[in-house]
């Protein structure tokens, strides 16, 4: 008997040991009795794309950024005809979301507004995008310049002789607010271009499907992708460093297995080695400011960047070096990809009626313009901005710990952002007065309890969705970004896995067999062996180096536009994305067949 709905959010029990979890999140982010009637009638799905794990209270900032900004730009600014925003709730520490549709009666009027408003952007896309890069880079410079040091016993003389007129304590209060608000502001820019960009991209998709019902998603993507986008720059820098190592005759010295710190120390002992390490260090800022979260880069404060953990990029450099030594080419075949893009575009175009060709040309042109942004914004915001935001947050947490406001830096992340502001005030006031903060004594039991709750919540397996599913899932962004479709939802309802297959979205074509390698944290990446089938919640561009080693990728979340799908197409290896539960149902070592044409993973060796 297949259920026709998922459990009500109001019937989900609190996991044992997690009692009181609600205090970890803002009240407006929770299911509550006042909205019960509304919320029980809605279909919520677990947003494992952006937040595959339990949220720390502090990291709720991440959710709030896009909750508000996406909504405002869809609903209020561009009047996206069919779609309002995406509503959010936190349940047992997990983020659930539901897209809000525009009232059908409003769609026509909204379309007229959208035409004028988005049309303005489409006509000037490249110029607006150039301005956009300046705006975002300015925000990046702004938060990079912020400093969160323990407050000094005595203010520096410059406070006096430069007539600064305010105290370090005030500046700590102010700068924390600025830090958070700068992230909020950046998210306005994130959605200034993103969803109208997706709308144009989706249109090209719809147009191709209309004319060529049998065309594969991959063919459509290939007409648009393959651009020389900056997103590939970090990986290209790794390749360049591998070539440099070869040129400097360092191949043998890099072929060992010692960690980055030991290796760099020994390299610095001679001129050639020192030159290479200096090159590495110059390259690291900004190109190794790459978050390593599985899924949405920068989604959590807990994942390191390449710069934080040079062992991750070093493993890739070593792999590239090995391939260079074997005489392989490691360059991305950009020219071939572009030539292939133009060939297939011309091929499909030729099959259209004369009347359609002008629209096709205009739309593929726009789709390519927006696609560069769709790929590149990830580098600017998900990587650079978030990496810097989290680095500054860690800096603040160390300052607060040093001043005794919390016992250890990580404690701060068990406080909500408003609680952090309170703690800063408590700390600053005591510092100012020369008194003692209530701080750690007050916060200690609260944080200790939240650590217990956090552990209990992590052991809980969240249902993939809540509430009644719609008969048809046709909200275009849900389908494209989250990979959630009518059939994947009915698959979830069926409690699948009985027949030894997992179904997802065909992200990249090809069929291969290989042993499973489950990876849920980037620290496990070095374990990946050549020929493995990578099974993960999702990948991020930070994982790119591993793609040189694996045979296929299977992800829990993501649609055809997810990084996993894009990168696998780029590397020409099969991918099945959005399977929902590959990580929890497959074991490392098990042999599977990955069919990237059909979107099916078959277990060849029972668990």
């Amino acid at each position: 008997m297949v259920a026709d709905r998922f459990p009500s959010p109001f019937d989900i029990e609190t996991p044992a040991g997690a009692e009181g979890w609600e205090s970890m999140y803002d009240w407006y982010h929770l299911f509550g009795p006042e909205r019960r009637e509304l919320d029980e009638g809605r279909f919520w799905f677990a947003d494992r794309l952006h937040h595959p794990d339990v949220l720390h209270p502090y990291d709720e900032i991440q959710c709030e950024c896009w909750w508000q900004a996406l909504g405002a730009f869809n609903t209020r600014i561009f009047a996206m005809p069919p779609a309002f925003g995406v509503d959010q709730r936190i349940l047992n520490g997990r983020l659930y979301v539901t897209p809000v549709a525009a009232p059908p009666d409003d769609v026509a009027a909204r379309a007229e507004e959208f035409g004028r408003r988005a049309g303005h952007y489409y006509e000037r896309w490249d110029a607006i995008y150039a301005e956009w890069k300046e705006k975002v880079t300015a925000k990046l410079a702004e938060i990079r310049a912020m400093r969160f040091d323990p407050l000094p016993d005595l203010e520096p003389e410059s406070t006096v002789f430069d007539h600064v007129g305010h105290s370090a304590g005030f500046r700590m209060i102010r700068d924390f607010d600025r830090l958070v608000l700068t992230m909020y502001e950046t998210y306005q820019y994130h959605f200034e271009l993103l969803n109208i960009g997706y709308a144009a991209y989706l249109t090209f998709f719809a147009m191709c499907r209309q004319a060529f019902p049998d065309i594969s998603d991959q063919s459509i993507s290939r007409m648009v992708g393959g651009l020389r986008v900056e997103l590939y720059r970090p990986d290209d820098e790794l390749k360049r460093l591998a070539k440099e190592a070869q040129r400097l005759g360092l191949g043998d010295r890099l072929s060992g297995t010692e960690d980055a710190a030991t290796l760099f120390a020994s390299l610095r002992e001679d001129a050639a080695g020192a030159e290479w390490v200096a090159d590495w260090e110059r390259t690291a800022d900004p190109w190794f400011l790459i978050n390593t979260d599985p899924g949405h880069p920068g989604g959590y404060h807990t994942y390191p960047t390449w710069a934080d953990q040079p062992d991750i990029p070093l493993a890739s450099v070593r792999e590239y070096l090995r391939r260079l030594t074997d005489g392989e080419s490691i360059d991305r075949p950009t020219d071939e990809v572009l030539a292939e893009r133009d060939r297939i575009t011309a091929g499909y175009r030729e099959l259209l009626s004369d009347a359609d060709r002008a629209t096709f040309d205009d739309t593929v042109g726009l789709a390519r313009q927006v696609f560069a942004f769709i790929e590149e914004h990830v580098l600017y915001i998900e990587h650079w901005m978030w990496a810097t935001f989290w680095a500054k947050s860690h800096e603040l947490s160390r300052a607060l710990a040093a001043m005794g406001e919390v016992d250890e830096p990580e404690d701060m992340f068990f406080l909500r952002r408003y609680e952090v502001a309170e703690a800063i005030y408590d700390c600053v006031a005591a510092w100012s007065v020369g008194s003692r903060p209530r701080g750690a004594d007050h916060l200690r039991p609260l944080i200790a309890r939240r650590r217990e709750i956090y552990t209990a919540l992590r052991a809980w397996e969240p249902p993939p969705a809540l509430g009644p599913p719609p008969s048809q899932i046709d909200e275009p962004f849900t389908v494209m970004l989250w990979g959630i479709t009518t059939s994947s939802v009915s698959e979830w309802l069926r409690a699948d896995g009985d027949d030894g297959t997992l179904r997802g979205t065909a992200g990249s074509p090809g069929i291969v067999e290989g042993p499973v390698r489950v990876v849920t944290h980037p620290s496990e990446l070095p374990d990946v062996q050549p020929g493995d089938v990578l099974v993960c919640p999702a990948t991020s561009p930070a994982w790119a180096p591993v793609f040189a080693r694996i045979a296929a990728t299977v992800s829990d979340v993501g649609g055809i536009m997810s990084h996993t799908a894009i990168v696998c197409r780029e590397y020409g290896m099969p991918a099945v994305v959005g399977t929902g539960n590959a990580v929890s149902s497959l074991r490392t070592g098990q042999r599977v067949r990955v069919d990237g044409n059909a979107g099916v993973v078959t277990v060849l060796e029972p668990a």
């Binding site: 069919p82 989706l202 719809a206 209309q210 049998d214 259209l352 629209t359 096709f360 074509p509």
Partner: protein, 366 residues
């Protein structure tokens, strides 16, 4: 009226459909394109007329029973008249220099020992607008000069089967005209089938749809077996869909005697795809060349010669596709839009269809 009675497929004279019929002219085009087709020759319409004239005086004498039929004659009356006509024809052509020319041509084809297919090639068939699909006779796996001459006569006679007569009447094509006959070396087929350079289920012109079975293709054409079905993207070359049927029986060359025999497919091959990716890629390449050269969507038949492998796909015939070709290509955008913005608006207000479907839509065609 003194043209050649027999012309090789590659001969310039084999390009004239009035002389070699629709199928013959189509095969000649393929040879001209450099596409692999089995070697062979055409017994021309001049040969047909000469055979009848020699023996019976005129074609009119043979066709007389049909000529007197009223337009709305009941089927059994048509059947009787057609049968009389065929008998007259077979009697009339049984001897004479024309069939000797056919025998000589067979002898010259691979030393007169090879197995051949003998196929009707009526004038007017296989043209855009009328397919004549399966209206005339075909004989497979024949060996020996007399067997071939006999089959040629039967093909001539099949111009006057009741169904062919009815088809012509239905299609408004009038009198029988003349019949050419194609004689080709038989491909020892590991697998065979049909293809179309569009998807007949939805008119998608970016695909080549192919159906195939183990062995010879005839059971597929006649609808006796369920074939494997492949949808190949013309531009990217991807096989976007595969529907593999359980293929229990196949028609193959008889080992002992000329002719064909129906056999069980070995158990381990029944559920296997009968074409591999390399063969599909070859077929795609051939189909695209043919379509480009013809300028309109095509359908056709092919065979993969034993034992499979590279350069084994041969085309047995092609002709213009007659249903979708008559229409404009599928529209990509609402008419009169022209700009990307109007396309975006159309997509966003259309709702459901905006999202890329998760799965291929099932279709049934071919």
């Amino acid at each position: 009226m003194s043209g050649d009675w027999v012309v090789p497929l590659g001969d310039a004279a084999a390009g004239d459909p009035d002389t070699v019929g629709g199928k013959g002219a189509g095969l000649h085009r393929l040879v001209d394109l450099g596409v692999r087709v089995p070697c062979g020759f055409v017994v021309t319409t001049d040969a047909f007329r000469a055979a009848l004239t020699d023996a019976a005086g005129t074609v009119d004498t043979v066709e007389a029973p049909l000529r007197d039929l009223p337009p709305d004659a009941p089927i059994d009356v048509v059947e009787r008249a057609a049968s009389t006509t065929r008998a007259r024809l077979l009697r009339a052509v049984a001897a004479g220099p024309v069939l000797d020319a056919v025998r000589t041509a067979y002898d010259e084809l691979a030393g007169g020992i090879c197995r051949v297919a003998v196929r009707s090639s009526a004038v007017g068939e296989d043209a855009a607008g009328a397919s004549y699909a399966g209206e005339h006779d075909t004989y497979l796996e024949l060996r020996g000069r007399d067997a071939v001459a006999d089959a040629v006569c039967r093909c001539w006679a099949s111009l006057y089967t009741a169904r062919a007569v009815s088809y012509r009447a239905h299609a408004g094509l009038g009198a029988a005209g003349a019949m050419a006959v194609v004689v080709q070396e038989m491909v020892p087929a590991r697998a065979a089938g049909v293809f179309m350079t569009l998807n007949p289920a939805n008119g998608d012109r970016s695909t080549v749809v192919c159906e195939a079975v183990w062995g010879l293709g005839e059971p597929l054409v006649s609808g006796a077996v369920t074939p494997d079905r492949f949808v190949i993207d013309k531009i990217s070359g991807e096989v976007v869909r595969r529907e593999i049927a359980t293929k229990e029986r196949s028609l193959v060359r008889s080992a002992e005697h000329p002719g064909t025999v129906e056999v069980d497919v070995p158990a381990d091959r029944r559920d296997e795809p009968c074409l591999d990716d390399a063969e599909l890629a070859e077929l795609l390449e051939l189909a695209r060349r043919v379509e480009r050269s013809a300028g309109v969507p095509q359908d056709g038949e092919f065979a993969v010669a034993e034992p499979g492998g590279p350069a084994r796909v041969q085309l047995l015939q092609t002709r213009p596709e007659t249903v979708w070709s008559a229409r404009a290509p599928r529209a990509a955008a609402p008419s009169g839009s022209g700009s990307a913005l109007s396309a975006v608006l159309a997509t966003l207000t259309r709702g459901a269809s905006a999202a890329p479907p998760h799965e291929g839509t099932p279709d049934h065609g071919g």
